[in-house]
Symmetry: C2
Subunit: 364 residues, 2 copies
């Protein structure tokens, strides 16, 4: 059977290995496995969320409230925006998919950073779009601007802080760049890790409310998968002016968020103190990774997220090291598929981090 | 901002009104509302499912096992198929989306029944495909075949039992039709209500294992949203030969099923007795609807599902009747948007059904 030609050169997303897979493949006891590969919050979500979800367990049979009024109200309050400036996705991933399906097509161009979140390319290729990438590992606005002028892309992705490297883009620099972009180009600002950047340095904090007040061509993305500790529940969101949201709604499947996920995300927003305490702990522990890297003479990229990226020296191979760690039950992310000789490690609990240092020490 | 031209003539899916919305709009007490609009199992899911989901509530932070091994194993066992003949979607809806994105494009033709599940058209229009429909309300294979010969569609949808009418297609008749279809046309057999048809009449039972053994161009769809009582958890599946599944995987977003939904669906398959008892009750109560309709002189379409479609006489307007019922807290589905002067009613518990008869009696 013939399928659409665009699918021929799509590679699948390489996810962090789930614990179940390591149990099956390596026969390691589940309790011995530490997963620092998918940037999940090691403290999970607020206990209030767990209580709330179990309290509505009888509602699993009922289709979700597709107007999502509870979650939209909570998010609108958080960001001081209107409900019609908001769309909810099954992870911010799905909002990326909506945007690409709505705006890009065969022959469109999509501009993104040299190294960035893999799904931008995968979704863009699904519709036959051409990928344009900058040269540098960091987001350099002058490179983006030169490529914008040359290619006039339909969509520009800015990922700040960037995944999988962890570095950030100053908000003022980003705004100055977007000011030069024509209003028919959709600029997607992926802030999946923005809560961490906001905590670390206000200069890197992007406020979606300001952003959409200023620009009619910007879509900001946020998620509950990272700081809010709900990676398993698949809830993210897009914030943009009403005319963009209305169009994204046209490609949104009905009931795209489960009944329990809507409740979980809504209640997670009620316990901001829990999230802030997790973020504080994150940066405290990040100091230990920086120290470890320094002691080992390894470069660590300055991170505004809940992970650190260790750039390895030439004589050390990131795939081999990740593999060695995996055999011992420590799951980290090898970045060789991104063209980097580096490993990305999620900041865990202090016990998990101890284990990482202990296992990695002899390998580096 | 310009978006893809195909989006211009997309209308959104009209879902059954959620209880929350009726509470907000009509100020009716939540406990007074009966929703018989979305074909949910009125008994919900097995209690074992609720226990299992609450038992893994701590896993909400962890990204789902994207290989979905537990659920795939359980489904493979149920249907006597291989895991690589199976893809899981966020509802069977999402598998429809995968298939259309993989196979159809601008100018493709998609053939479907005159009256059928609304999402086929919505997804097909998103990629700019042209919709071809038969003339009769029931699936008539001779009409399908004539249109197939005339249009050579990329995709044919057969929905059996059909939503929103409830009637079914004999398995032998369907197989005889598919035998005449070239292998480059994807035939999608939507069996969202198949568990009910199997119970009611073996002649209407489609066995996906037989189907894919026989045909290399068929995709069978199933769901946990109906008989398994998990409409809020968004889990459905597609069964087809490996080469089709592999291609659908290329347009599947990673982590498309939540951690809790994977567990819920897996455990639901372990309590088949619960599901069969719900189905038995469904047909017992359906008899009462048929009797009610007969007493009122109203046509009821012979149903192989968990809902009945009451075709109203000309002098009664389905929109008005649905609206009258809504004001009293009874949510049913008006089918006027499908071009039918009919209302669709989910078979509820006997108390819910009593309430329907009581409220509807003076209106008909």
């Amino acid at each position: 059977m013939n399928f659409n030609a665009a699918l021929e050169n799509i590679k699948s997303y390489e996810a962090g290995k789930p614990i179940e897979l390591v149990v099956r493949e390596y026969g390691i006891d589940k309790d011995q496995i530490v997963k620092l590969a998918s940037n999940e919050n090691p403290f999970g979500c607020s206990p209030k969320v767990k209580e709330a979800v179990c309290a509505i367990i009888d509602n699993m049979a009922l289709y979700p409230d597709d107007s999502m009024v509870k979650l939209k109200t909570a998010l609108s309050d958080k960001y001081k925006i209107q409900a019609n400036e908001l769309i909810i996705g099954a992870g911010s991933d799905q909002v990326i998919e909506f945007a690409i399906h709505a705006k890009a097509h065969e022959g469109s161009k999509v501009l993104m950073n040299s190294v960035t979140f893999a799904m931008y390319e995968i979704y863009a290729k699904q519709v036959g779009a051409e990928i344009i990438r900058t040269a540098s590992r960091e987001h350099k606005m002058e490179e983006f601007y030169a490529l914008y002028q040359e290619h006039k892309p339909s969509i520009i992705f800015l990922c700040t802080p960037n995944n999988p490297t962890g570095d950030g883009l100053k908000a003022s620099e980003m705004v100055a760049f977007i000011e030069k972009i024509d209003s028919n180009t959709l600029v997607i600002v992926d802030g999946a890790y923005m809560e961490y950047a906001c905590f670390k340095d206000p200069a890197y904090a992007v406020d979606p409310c300001d952003l959409i007040a200023k620009f009619n061509n910007v879509l900001f993305l946020g998620t509950f998968s990272k700081a809010y500790g709900l990676g398993g529940m698949r809830v993210g969101y897009g914030i943009a002016q009403d005319h963009i949201i209305k169009t994204l709604y046209k490609v949104r499947p009905p009931f795209n968020i489960t009944t329990l996920s809507l409740e979980a995300a809504s209640v997670a927003l009620e316990d901001e103190a829990f999230v802030q305490e997790c973020i504080r702990h994150n940066f405290e522990e990040m100091g230990r990774y920086e120290e470890f890297a320094r002691a080992k003479g390894i470069d660590v990229i300055q991170s505004y997220t809940n992970f650190v990226t260790l750039s390895l020296p030439e004589e050390k191979n990131s795939s081999k090291i990740a593999q060695e760690l995996l055999k011992k039950g420590m799951i980290v992310r090898d970045l060789s598929s991104y063209g980097l000789n580096a490993i990305r490690v999620t900041i865990g609990t202090s016990i998990q981090n101890d284990r990482f240092f202990e296992l990695t020490d002899p390998l580096l």
